[in-house]
Amino acid sequence: MSGLGLLAREALHDALRRRIAFAVAVAALASVAMLDSCTSCAAPITVQGEVRELSELAGPAGLGTFVVLGLWLMVLAGVLASDHLRTTLEDGSALLSLARPISRESFALARLAGVLGLTYGAGLVVLGAAAAMLAARSGLPWLPALLAGGACALGCATVAGFAMAASLVLPRAATLLLVLGGVWLIALANGLGAFTRVGGWLGWLDRSGPPLGSAMALALAPWLDGATFAGDPVQVGARLAAWAIGAVLVLTYGFRSVEIRG
């Protein structure tokens, strides 16, 4: 196994040993239980005076649920990344590895891989369970869920990469605020942009920023049975991939420039 592989495995072990890993597992299981409860409900509801079966709304409800869970995973990736690299520098545990013939880039990528390993594990449980339940109980196809899962994975890498890079220069609280505020603002911009043309910086964020929400929503559009969102799924997916690559580059460049206290 290469140095990067060894470090990535160690970083994943580190992530799994953190107390937050237990909270992540509990939250993931709670999400699955909530999904089980929601998707098994079959009561009729009244929409604008018209009685409809819940199964008729499975597409939009499934899409909304999937996107919200995806955004939750992205926030989780950012929260984990906000100190997964920084802590090793502050407590000095990185010194022994960085004194070895290992590049700074490998070390930073390994720490990022540790965060993403934990997040993707949680995502596999939560989004996998959601897709399975929606497919089994509401007949929603798997492929859009798979594509949305891919978009979520890119979103997690984007948020985690920027959060880890920010943690090199900002205090942890500021990095956390940046993660929470950033994901929330982008989700708001994407949500508004799906239905109307948004101007100003929020519009710019929707059209040029990382499409964390819209890439997932566009992938899941086939669940809506005819309704569409503004935007080309391939272009939006490519934009998200470009942002993810950019986040990783910012992280590796940033870490190469950091001075390590011995």
């Binding site: 196994m1 160690e10 545990s93 010194l95 022994l96 013939p101 011995g262």
Partner: protein
């Protein structure tokens, strides 16, 4: 071959110069003791040599390369002053990881780890978690890590910190064994007697400047101890 070299190395933090034009050179097989009062710049010099920080001016090289290049650090064993080890890892697991990072072949890793564990007296504790080790045993583990793969250059920062007198004697044995097989040695320490027993050259830093440098016999006058020479150098 030159193992490490600082040429008029300057390191500034804002207006303060932690190193103000220091030149040092260590050839293969030589042993250099780096002495100085607290804040003299010893740890800063080590940070530059390991590529942890970039010099503000001057040159720094490790085996003829920029220490920030990973290949320059191949064959370097390092023991930091503040040794932080992963408490939940086992002694063997930690050393196996470090052996992999040092570039030791997967097939040879177990034998190499066993050899250093036996050397530092931790063979019986190989399966224990590091968190359960005493300070002295952790320092022994730090030594085992530094000695993995028979490094060509050992950089030791306060190597006997936390060791009892027996541990100090053992540490001296490991250092001298490394020297016998031709490893270069750079020791930064406040322990003058340890430096005197393991090094053949001394460099004394004070306020970021090299105030004395040379062979022990050149620095220590007749009837003087190394401590006398040290005090004379830093109070000059």
């Amino acid at each position: 071959m030159v193992a490490l070299e600082l040429v008029d190395a300057v390191k500034r933090y804002g207006a303060r110069a932690a190193l103000a034009g220091v030149s040092l050179r260590l050839a293969a097989g030589e042993a250099l003791g780096l002495l100085g009062p607290n804040g003299a710049g010893k740890t800063t010099a080590l940070r530059l040599l390991l590529g942890f920080a970039r010099a503000s001016a001057g040159g720094v090289s490790l085996f003829g390369r920029d220490p920030r290049e990973p290949a320059a650090r191949r064959g370097v064993g390092y023991l930091p002053e503040r040794l932080v080890l992963p408490d939940r890892a086992t002694v063997r697991g930690f050393l196996r990881l470090q052996a992999g990072l040092a570039g030791i072949d997967a097939a040879a890793r177990n034998a190499e780890v066993d050899a250093v564990l036996a050397m530092v007296g931790l063979a019986e504790r190989a399966r224990e978690r590091i968190g359960g080790l005493s300070k002295g045993l952790r320092q022994r583990l730090g030594f085992a890590n530094a000695l993995l793969g028979r490094p060509q250059l050992l950089i030791l920062d306060e190597p006997t910190s936390g060791l009892d007198p027996l541990g100090v004697r053992d540490a001296r044995t490991w250092i001298l064994a490394a020297r016998e097989r031709g490893a270069a040695l750079l020791v930064s320490s406040h322990g003058l007697s340890e430096v005197e027993r393991t090094c053949d050259r001394i460099a004394i830093l004070d306020e970021g400047r090299l105030v004395a440098s040379g062979a022990l016999a050149e620095l220590v006058g007749p009837g003087e101890s190394l401590e006398d020479a040290f005090v004379r150098a830093v109070r000059r």
